[in-house]
């Protein structure tokens, strides 16, 4: 029963998080910080054991007649788990300083840990029903983070989010139920377990339902018509919650999409259908809208929120190409984007914490005060813009290669054009922050007295993520072969 290990990253943070509500002592900050650090590190170690371990662990538990609880650490799951653990850990450390002025901190960290457990559950789940359960709980568990401040804005945002979530849930429920009828297995199988014999005659409805299912997951990934909750959420929630939701939870939607296309229906049946075309168009629209709106807003957090929409659009575009190269590119982009984005959030969060700046213009000359973090910001921006030699470039390269190879005609041309426009706009909205941060011009006269160098809890995660994303960018071949093997096995 070595598969039991798989339960550690799920159950441990869950238990630890719930325990936080009961232990009064944890209201003191130093003790609580240590407690949370310990939990996060132990979970990360468990995740590392699962990821680096030689064999693929599995855990099956027939809970009832029609529900199979199944965890599986296959290639994709390993990648997701590693990414989620690293990101969640770093974000947790960042939260220590930032949350120290908020109320009810123990409640925040409690829910933060609980949420972590469920996110790991999504990453590790080995079958659609399991994933659906974890997916639902994750979506609900992040609501307390979202409305942590209990202002009217936060509550409005939460209601808004819940409405979207409910609609998405409806899509997922019906789509999933319908599709599961044509699956041979409840588990995720390499290449999908679609029973073509059963499907005969129902293709039209099947496609519609697949689309519905993908759309349901797309709501979480803020794909075009459903991207609005994201900006509203950004304005209302505290920064660590925003970075967790924007950086990591949006990726849960993408992970689910990848699972559906790779492990349930298989890529081949979707390739060349209207589902793919519409899907690509939606992804392109999200890239476009995200990039343009981010360029045009002057609010810092709104800019990052729209930027997320655009960047996740790039990832979804890679997924929608339905071929191993594009899928590899999408996953690489997902890794690059998660890490680089957290760095951006850490930097802006640290600045906001000390000064209360919310507008881009206010950041003029900030690089003189906190040069190292702003340098990380600049490096992370390069990742998002896809400048070589960064991981962002690698992802962009594979995603566009995959898309150009499989999609034909005008959609491909439009795709690569929009991709480029997205990157140019990304340069347009990220670089001025860096540029004016380091080169404020003549009018600037050592303002920013309030800016202090952030504490180590904030800086170390930023440095760590920057180093990791650049190391991966310089030598991505092991990563790419790993992902490519995991994905190609599924396209057979």
């Amino acid at each position: 029963m070595s598969g039991i290990v798989l339960l550690v990253p799920i159950v441990l943070p869950l238990a630890a998080g719930l325990a936080m509500f009961g232990i009064k002592k944890l209201e003191e900050r130093r003790l609580r910080d240590r407690y949370v650090t310990a939990v996060l590190l132990v979970c990360a170690a468990a995740a590392a054991y699962i990821v680096l371990g030689p064999q693929e662990l599995e855990l099956h538990w027939q809970m009832s007649e029609d529900f199979l609880f199944c965890l599986k650490a296959d290639g994709l799951a390993k990648i997701f788990l590693a990414l989620v653990s690293l990101a969640w850990m770093c974000n947790g450390f960042f939260a220590f300083e930032y949350m120290s002025r908020e109320e009810r901190q123990e409640e925040f960290f409690g829910f933060y840990l609980v949420c972590y457990g469920f996110v790991c559950g999504v990453a590790l789940s080995g079958g659609f029903p399991t994933m659906q359960v974890f997916y639902i709980i994750t979506s609900i568990a992040c609501v307390p983070l979202l409305m942590h401040r209990r202002t009217s804005g936060a509550i409005q945002a939460s209601v808004y989010y819940m409405v979207y979530f409910a609609v998405g849930q409806l899509f997922i429920h019906f789509g999933g139920k319908y599709i599961m009828r044509y699956m041979d297995s409840e588990e995720f199988v390499e290449g999908g377990s679609l029973n073509l014999g059963l499907l005969e005659g129902h293709e039209g409805m099947f496609m519609a339902m697949v689309f519905l299912l993908l759309l349901g997951f797309g709501i979480k990934a803020c794909v075009f018509p459903f991207h609005n909750w994201h900006k509203v959420m950004t304005q209302a929630a505290p920064m660590p919650a925003v970075s967790a939701i924007s950086g990591i939870l949006t990726k849960i939607g993408v992970i689910a999409m990848i699972r559906v296309t790779c492990n349930m229906t298989g890529m081949r049946i979707l390739r060349g259908t209207w589902v793919q075309t519409v899907w690509i168009i939606l992804a392109l629209l999200s890239i476009f809208i995200g990039a343009v709106l981010a360029f045009r807003t002057s609010g810092l957090s709104e800019r990052l929120a729209y930027s997320t929409v655009g960047q996740v659009g790039c990832i979804v575009f890679g997924v929608a190409s339905m071929c191993p190269d594009g899928m590899t590119g999408a996953i690489v982009l997902m890794i690059a984007h998660t890490m680089a984005f957290l760095v951006l959030f850490f930097t802006t969060g640290a600045i906001y914490f000390h000064t209360g700046y919310t507008q881009v213009d206010q950041l003029r000359g900030i690089g003189k005060k906190i040069p190292h973090m702003m340098f990380c910001f600049a490096l992370a921006s390069c990742v998002l813009m896809g400048i070589p030699p960064t991981l962002g470039f690698v992802g962009d390269w594979y995603a566009t290669q995959g898309a150009l190879a499989t999609i034909s005609g005008s959609v491909a041309a439009a795709g690569s054009a929009v991709f480029l426009i997205g990157e140019l706009f990304a340069a347009g909205y990220l670089l001025p922050i860096v540029l004016h941060g380091f080169f404020p011009g003549e009018e600037y006269s050592l303002k920013h007295e309030k800016v202090k160098v952030p504490s180590l809890y904030t800086r170390i995660p930023a440095y760590l993520l920057t180093v990791v994303v650049y190391a991966l960018g310089f030598f991505p071949v092991p990563l790419i072969t790993f992902i490519h093997d995991a994905v190609s096995a599924m396209t057979l």
Binding site: N228, V292, P388, F393, S416, L420, E423, P440, G441, P476
Partner: protein, 641 residues
Amino acid sequence: MIGDYRLLILVLWPFVGACIGYLIGRKDSTYRDYFADFVVIAEFIYVLWLFPALREGGREDFLLEGFCGLNLHLRLDGFREIYGSVAAYIWMMTTLVSREYFAHYENRNRYYLFVLPTLGATMGLFLSADLFTVYLFCQIISFTSFVGIAHDERDYAVKAASTYLAAEIIGGALIFSGLNRLYLMFGTLEIDVLRDAVLALEDRSAVYAAGAFLFFGFGAKAGMFPLHFWMNRAHAGSPAPISTLLSAIITKTGVFGVILVCANIFFGDQAWGIFLLILGTFTMLLGAMRAVFGVHMKRILAFSSLSQIGFILMGLGSALYLGTENQIAVHGAVLHMLNHSLLKLLLYLCAAVIYMRLHTLHLDDIRGYGRGKPLLHAAFVIGALGIGCIPLFNGYVSKTLLHEGIVECVHLAAETGGPQLLFTVVEVLFLLGGGMTIAYMLKMYICVFVQKNPAAQEKFDGYNHHYMGAATTVALLGATAVIPVFGIFPHVFLEKLALLGQAILNPLLPPEMAHPVHYFAWMNLRGAVISVCVGCILYFFVVKKLLMRRLEDGSWEYLDRWPVKLDLEYLIYRPLIERWVPDMCGALCSVLNTPVLYKVIQKMDLTPEWREKKKENDRKRAEERERRLARKRMKDSNKYR
């Protein structure tokens, strides 16, 4: 890793040196400056040592597979060898000057931290044998040199730097999409493999589409016509050592990319050759015209660079048109690139020497500064003669070859029924461009070294004998000496170099001159004479009459007669990027982005009243408790009284 790792050291050493220098600089800036000198000098010596060493034994290339997902491939052959050495040489000279130039600047540590990696990246770019490697180093150069341009932190410098970065990023995006298409077609970006693969194709239209993307992408880096808008401001706004690098080397990285595209994708395509020729002519004339109108020394030099890049493109165009037997045109293009690098190094160093004392380069302010400074005088004159293509100076050699190339085009067109008239017009414009070059160099020369300054001549004369430090003198002398040596013995130096470097444009050329060129025969001297005559006429009848004004005290004032509005950057590009495109896209997005649902939710009253009440209750309860405690304390104290 396959091949000789020593090539990689060549690229990595400046990066490492920059980091070490930064750490030293945090402790002591003097040692940091000496260390930076050491880094570039070591690099130059290493280059000179490495090339023969590699030739004798070992492989001449280095391949790092899987860097950034693709291949990092460095190679050493003729052209790469020449330009690698030139890059190291120019960096050495500018770094020697930097110490004195930046003596009173702030943030010097940052300057060295970014300018040294630019050397490494440039070296890598000129050595690259793979288009991805070219792209990679191109992007690194853009980001590192950008910091150098904005070094002043003045508004104009920051603005110039942002324009530069915008041009580079747009160029980078074009290159990215071109490479993407090429890789999709051939599965490789190796330059040699690509060339054969393209030649083997029947229908080349798809390749040409990719090639056009690459061409304009690299063109943006080279400052080619529609994407040249960053050139003058970036050159004028940056500190002189950086503008030297920009003009002498960094624009050449773009030209190198253009050469690779032309030689490997468009090889032997006559139509593309004509297009390139026209584009080159236009770039050349535009640059020369704006240089003639210029009143700021660095701007004039910047537009002069633009114009010379036009000449190089013309050489490439005629080389493409001539097909396989294009040795003269190829030599012209390669040598003009080399000569221009050397000449611009010299001229910008002169500008740096002037700026170090005066902190301005406006022609009105530097009038007469050069009087009584023989070394500066000699250096500038030699540079001016070189770029004006006077016989016995290096520029003459390459321009003669370029001219010959165009004349060959005329003959070929006459034989094959090509557009003969077009080539004849181009030839005339070529000579006119040469004349304009002489006119603007004459303008600067007379301004600085002949005219007297009505206001500050005494102050200027006071600088005589101590207007530059020892390191600067060495650099200036070194940069000057090369030019007449190359010019007087063209067959000894330049021709050999051209034979060494020709393979980059056409590997089929014979390893010796097919037809010997008599540089000092009347037929070739005639071009120079015509150019000089045109230049003098232009100077005395256009520049003196229209662009200068005689004041009452007999001195001349320089007038900026170029219409302010006629500036592509502010006329088209900035509004396009800052307003038109975002506004258009924004209008589209705002339609798509109306949050109906959220508005409904906002309408609903969701103020958390229960929470307010709870707070109120908590407060009341706390007050109550406080009161009770107080009463108890009172009672206790009464008890013990």
